[in-house]
Symmetry: D5
């Protein structure tokens, strides 16, 4: 099965094609009529795409057929999808390391015994202008799910 | 040096005292005149506290002296501070696993080569009412820092 | 803070007291008016117990006060709670290793893109009589949660 | 030996062919006259298939010869078969992490010193309709095996 | 709960007492009316002992009460029980590393798809006299268990 | 150097050819005039084979030349040779985990300070008929080597 | 996607071409009008290069087109970029192991709670002549970033 | 041997005493007539101190005798001395991750096959004033050691 | 069982007593009538000592009784005995990393298929005077053991 | 960049060619006018070779051009170069595990605070005839390097 694309390789082909075409992720999100973060995540391989969605992206970016076919394979969500030591990723995880127990306690106090869902979950990415240097703003929204007691 | 408290043990003593007193993290944040998340994180051991801040918390919660002394030790920020397999923590990290490469690409497109700071950083915790079940809302704000080219 | 009990140590003290008293987990479940598996899991440290529940268990088993206090500390759910190489635990995980991808595919086919919740979840333990040797029967029931698309 | 299929790659080819044909795992199970979970697990590579079974599946799905040959290679059951950090798999393992020690104690109390077999074992997958959201129901049945004392 | 013995510590106390008394493992096995390897394994903490068995051993070796109590705690069988890099242990594992795939294939050919049980299992230890240097002889006997097909 | 066989790949080619020819490991052992376990281990890649031995095996199984050449490469004995989580292998290692410290103590008592050799070592594989289900019998024989004191 | 170059492979092609041409890293730095360390790091794959910069390097070194194209792919900065056990790398990390806590304390005393940036950061490499043997001199300069308190 | 201090615990006691006395690391360096970084590293446990040096530090900081005794134990230099995930430490290591292969190549080009010593090594810590925010400046100087060819 | 010494702690007590008495390892070796390296290794916990040998060392160094008793416990030889990242240890292992495959090939060529024993093994430590700086000289001597073929 | 040789693959090609030609490592060392161990290590990929040295080896062994080119690539010295669980390698490391702390202490006593260099280092391999079985003799010689104090 060598020489076929998997979802992660298809994602890299999309980055290359998008850079070559000078398109933005927002334009691709508009083409799919989905949000910016979901679309980017889907095209990089972490969300499922239907054959139609794959065709639509393939048309916009002029992708070769093998890439289009790969886009509707099941998503790849485990640890193989990213390198935790890459500097951007690392800082996101570092923030969790510093604030994780606080978030745990705050959820326990406010909601009781349970978790913030990573499935019924959305994430917004924004540029926050700031005279001391613009900021990355991420808004996480996850449903609280209480542990079942039975 | 057994039988003295370190920052993490002092944090556990605070959770116990706070539960016994029926106080909220917000009340402790008000006592310190700091934000909710920062205060919780500091009392659990991840931010520095001055001797005065330690005294103030000690007074409000009726902590024993050894705990108060421990509160102004340097903060503990590395991996010893939390267990990544604990279910609440895990889902926060899973969200990064699913959306991490997307955030990386979006930062690269919008800001260029650089990172979102985890130091010039703040985090807000809110309860987002929702008829289908209330949600945990986290707002991350980190300064974009471009890689220096020289 | 040495010489106090944490949740896991309190769990070991309960096992010892229960064996000494010759009581069953079902009797403890009845005392708490909860199911068998949830109760066992709670008393071993993986579910929260209120102060009243802790008192009730303490009374039934004649536990010392330090253990009773420890029982209402927050639950311990991360990897520190069990040794994956212990033979009983290992076989449970081995079954997942053998059938995990099949379950993943079957969930994807039947329900679509999503997960089986481990939070809105219950587990029943039964002895299944069998002439060729009795069997352990476990019934897992977890709510299907679809990935949010937005 | 590149360019030949191994069992895991053959499994991926089956998923692709099955999706293209719009067939279900139950239809494949019917073709093999085996249960749903066993069949899915076998076709994904974790159970042995005879040459006849491989031919039968190949005929139904229109697989190329190389895939059919690979289907009767010995099964692949170790850790290379799945990624424990993939979200569906993770939650199954998390449930074991939360309930593992409880199951261990319950087996010890009910059956004595021994294990639940992962070999003389079967697993049923069902959709459990529920007005609050349908549930995944898994029924595990494993023979109790007592430790030999000699 | 410090200052009480667990099974592994009780095992170390037994080694010390046995050395001081100049007794052999065989004598202890005779006292328990069990085989040599099972008894040694049990006294070191890997098999369950009843209160009577614990008393019997305590009497023979003159153990203090705390050790006797600890001997009837549940056995400890996971990886915490031994250090795989210790030279004796290492060589046993190295033999598996060299012959493991061969044993796997031979079991597959001779018995079919299944395993050699480590539960319905016994192990004999013998000194094999040899003019070129005496040998350690280990006889493993484990029931073959076929994978269930359903 | 791709597209050539290494010892492990040659071993997999032998399994395939042997299955296709319907030959047994014992027949291959007879061809090489070596014992059953040693031969299986050698053909799977863990023992050295001379060019003549490789030719002999190649003739019997009708192997292609590239495989025959690979058979006289140096053996591969490290951890890359097997997956410790594969169920058959796992149970062999589990037995060591349960009985390892006992074997260590028994060797220390019977022979003194030293090890059981994994080099001057042989291993026999037998089917042990048993009315309650046949058993796998393994006989390990390794020379005792005392630690040198100087 | 095999047979295309990634950034690390492009870096290895540059080392080979540079050695063949007998050019120095300083000459390449001059061609790019960047500093010595930044340029070396960029050409080995850890900094972004524009298409023009890639062309310029390609011209100077006579690289094939595939390598030039790969040079403007996103940089690779995670742990896959270097082997920490390689002797040169190891000693750099060993120095951090020996002096890391000291640097942490000195930063805390001199600057307060915060970090030395690895983003707004530069590094100079010099040969320091010394009669007892020349020395490698590295000058690290990173902006101090105070933890935000809010 | 509990209740005695080891070098790392002695280091923590020094940090506490120094903070309480309001002294600086430079004052302690002056007392020992050593450089700033070496002294800090030594007092935190990574360099050897003679009994006289220990006495001198003990006198200046008013340490208890047990701490003074511990200060002349052998230094602790392995990985137990620091947590690589602590944010300050992490960024130092991240810089090596980004620039490590570049430094390796530059050393190879300038000096030939060899390493930069971490033993015949010194490190200077300075505050570098900068209108855009002061910087941490570290100057590493290590002797080049060529690989011996024989 | 806290507050008793194990072999490693007894080793640390010996280092402290030896330093306080100003004795050398050679003097202790002379007292035991064993070689220098063996004696040092034994006193640090990696070789067995008889009760008489323990008494002799205890007398010479004036050790307390608890340490003397601990000296005749079984030796501790696994990975818990040393930290591979400690700089002295690291360099010894680095030499194996650089020369390990060469030694493997040279043994294979000179002796055939087998190993150099680490049991029938001795090690000499010498100071090798050298005008360019004295050298550490280690002479390893291990019996060649051929793999048994059967 | 597939289908080219790296240093480790070139080393494997040399082993194959040398075995086919029936040459010894000593003959190759003589051709390069270097010592036996250094030469073997260099040809297996752990030392640098000049283009002339590569040519000389290529001529003697009749290597193909691609291998000759690969021989003058930079050496590969990190952990990817060997498998620590391979039996020959393991025993070398086991000896360090047993004697490592002793060597550390002996160096500290004899030379003071410092290390034995693995760079200014040589290693001799000899066969030591012995009536009880010939021995492998390795002589390590590394310059002592004292930690710099400044």
């Amino acid at each position: 099965m060598p020489d076929t694309y998997d979802r992660l390789e298809a994602g890299r082909a999309i980055v290359a094609a998008k850079d070559a075409k000078g398109m933005s992720w927002q334009q691709l999100a508009d083409a799919l009529e989905r949000s910016l973060v979901w679309t980017t995540s889907a095209l990089l391989g972490q969300q499922p795409l239907s054959a139609e969605q794959a065709q639509k992206v393939g048309g916009v970016l002029g992708l070769e057929d093998d890439v289009v076919v790969a886009l509707s394979l099941p998503p790849v969500r485990g640890e193989s999808a990213l390198d935790p030591t890459e500097p951007v990723t690392y800082r996101l995880q570092e923030a969790l390391q510093v604030y994780g127990t606080a978030l745990h306690e705050l959820i326990r106090e406010e909601f009781g015994d349970g978790i913030m869902s990573a499935i019924d979950f959305s994430l917004e990415f924004e540029r926050e202008p700031d005279p001391k240097g613009d900021r990355v703003k991420l808004t996480w929204s996850g449903k609280f799910l209480p542990y079942k007691v039975w």
